[in-house]
Symmetry: C2
């Protein structure tokens, strides 16, 4: 692997963009040139990569010339705006936004689950929703044993899902609680410190949020289970980085718990932490700042003989976003 | 209602005991004498009731003579220890512990749901588990429309569920985070500030905790639905007082959402807060320090045509414990 690549990070100064730079370094990705792009506000600022300062430039239509890959860490609007320019420049766009995820021409990939889908790309590969990635990592081993027919998922989502603004709001509100100062919500629709908010994303007309519908829509595409039905409740909790998800799923066949635990444990990228009596279960704090998804509390669903209930945690910025994107990039390089 | 009553609070100095005293005052309960009992550590301390100081005494076997009612706000062990003495003294014991809840001779009561069960008491009436009370308040109106067959519940439980120690741990850990001091968990098995913990209560051999099994066991008894099946995941979240629960339930019949909303809204003690598009949904912060249970996010379960999904919040110390106990007492007085 002597070839080196020219890689741009679009949205380099946000929580996910900065982590992408860190992950590129940690994973020893063969980078010939790293181009950091962001909004005009960040023009001229500098970020470290392999001990050297790299200057951030304003992203413009002609910013992508010569690039092999562009890692996208921007919102829907900017991703849509820049995608044609990225494709025109001949680069492959690995996009973390939701813009292209459900496009039948665009692979939606969690490398451990459906790496083979990458090959079908026509210039864009989408990185899935963060809660969806973490949940699917936890259940994909089970789906291999027997197809998942339904999932009821309740999330406990970290503030990092709202980016730097979410992290700052949490820190700021926590300081204000201790100082007994008044709190005015900024990044979230209500105070998040010492609160939970059962509303993430935007309203859709079936009573679910768009964030909640991603579990079913993206889950079907990634697991290749077009009939899978998901009821999801997305809840923001006052936690910094790791998302937790409580999942009750029903498979086509009755599975025994030992087989399920072995399948979860054997799945790449997953750690089984499942000994309640020995106080071994995942928490967001224990699973932050790393790429592994932790799964525990595996037990029989008491409402359905084909049901399994479990709890999983994974870092939202890492496996939920930046690391998954860089893992896709590595699959492209090594294929 | 000219008659006045002699009432003891057993465990008067804890979070629930203190709230019971507050609720007795707020509800204008006709109290002739208030006797405050606690462990020997609190002997001689004073608490306010109706503007006057009442001295706390150590609870002893002979502490209950002359009492009409004893409100219990102590743990299982002390409740069991003192129950025979309370009965011997001729008082009615309204017990917040789990000691007698599943005893077929003991009514387990949420007054809005099964007040009629109170009449069967033989000296002890149990107050249900806090998450169970709040969840059942949210779904009891639906159960009247059509029996609930199954529930999948994921809780977001406040630290007050672990009493004063839980509240203090949360405050202390939050201060330490801001001061960047090291945290050593005290009331919970792990740091709770900026974390969530999927373990409450103690381990049982089906992989569920005893706390999680209460939803099914107590729920069946209170709703008079002996066949109801519940899968519950109990999770501690860094929230002070209100528990939140995400519930997906299946009824015997298919129900339409407008009928469900009307039934929830009409149920006594419940407030419908269900307009996602208008940003109306319950949060723990908005529902603290009051007795009402708030229900929102009512929508069709996408995995089952007979399924309904909803979100509810209620103050753990109030309706989840102290207020419910005093409401039982009022039913006894007024029956």
């Amino acid at each position: 692997m002597d070839k080196k690549y020219k890689i741009a990070v679009l949205g380099a100064t946000g929580a996910v963009g900065r982590e992408m730079i860190k992950v590129l370094e940690e994973y020893n990705v063969p980078v010939e040139e790293l181009r950091l792009l962001a909004s005009s506000r960040s023009e001229g600022s500098k970020l470290l990569f392999r001990g050297e300062e790299v200057t951030v430039h304003e992203a413009k239509p002609d910013s992508f010339s010569g690039m092999d890959f562009v890692l996208g860490a921007v919102g829907k609007g900017m991703a849509k705006q820049f995608a044609p320019h990225i494709l025109e420049a001949g680069a492959v766009f690995i996009d973390n936004s939701s813009s292209f995820r459900m496009d039948p021409e665009v692979p939606l990939v969690v490398p451990e689950i459906n790496a083979e889908d990458i090959k079908k790309h026509r210039g864009i590969i989408s990185n899935p929703n963060c809660s969806t990635i973490i949940t699917l990592m936890a259940v994909a081993g089970i789906a291999k044993l027997s197809p998942i027919e339904t999932m009821v998922a309740c999330t406990y989502q970290a503030v990092s899902g709202a980016g730097e603004a979410g992290i700052r709001a949490m820190e700021d509100e926590t300081e204000k609680i201790v100082a007994k100062d008044a709190i005015v919500p900024t990044a979230f629709p209500a105070q998040i410190a010492m609160n939970v908010i059962p509303f993430i994303g935007s309203y859709t007309d079936n009573g679910y949020t768009d964030e909640e519908m991603k579990m079913q829509n993206e889950g079907r595409k990634i697991l290749h289970l077009p009939e899978m039905k998901c009821t999801c409740t997305c809840v923001r909790v006052p936690v910094m980085r790791s998302h937790s998800i409580s999942v009750t799923l029903r498979t086509r066949d009755v599975l025994d718990l030992d087989t399920v635990r072995a399948a979860v444990s054997d799945f790449p990228g997953v750690v089984l932490a499942d000994d309640l009596d020995g106080r071994d279960y995942p928490t967001p704090l224990d699973t932050s700042d790393q790429d592994m998804v932790y799964v525990g509390r595996i037990r029989k669903d008491l409402t359905d003989e084909r049901g399994i209930t479990l709890w999983c945690c994974g870092d939202q910025i890492r496996k939920g976003a930046a690391s998954n994107a860089v893992q896709i990039l590595l699959k492209l390089i090594n294929s």
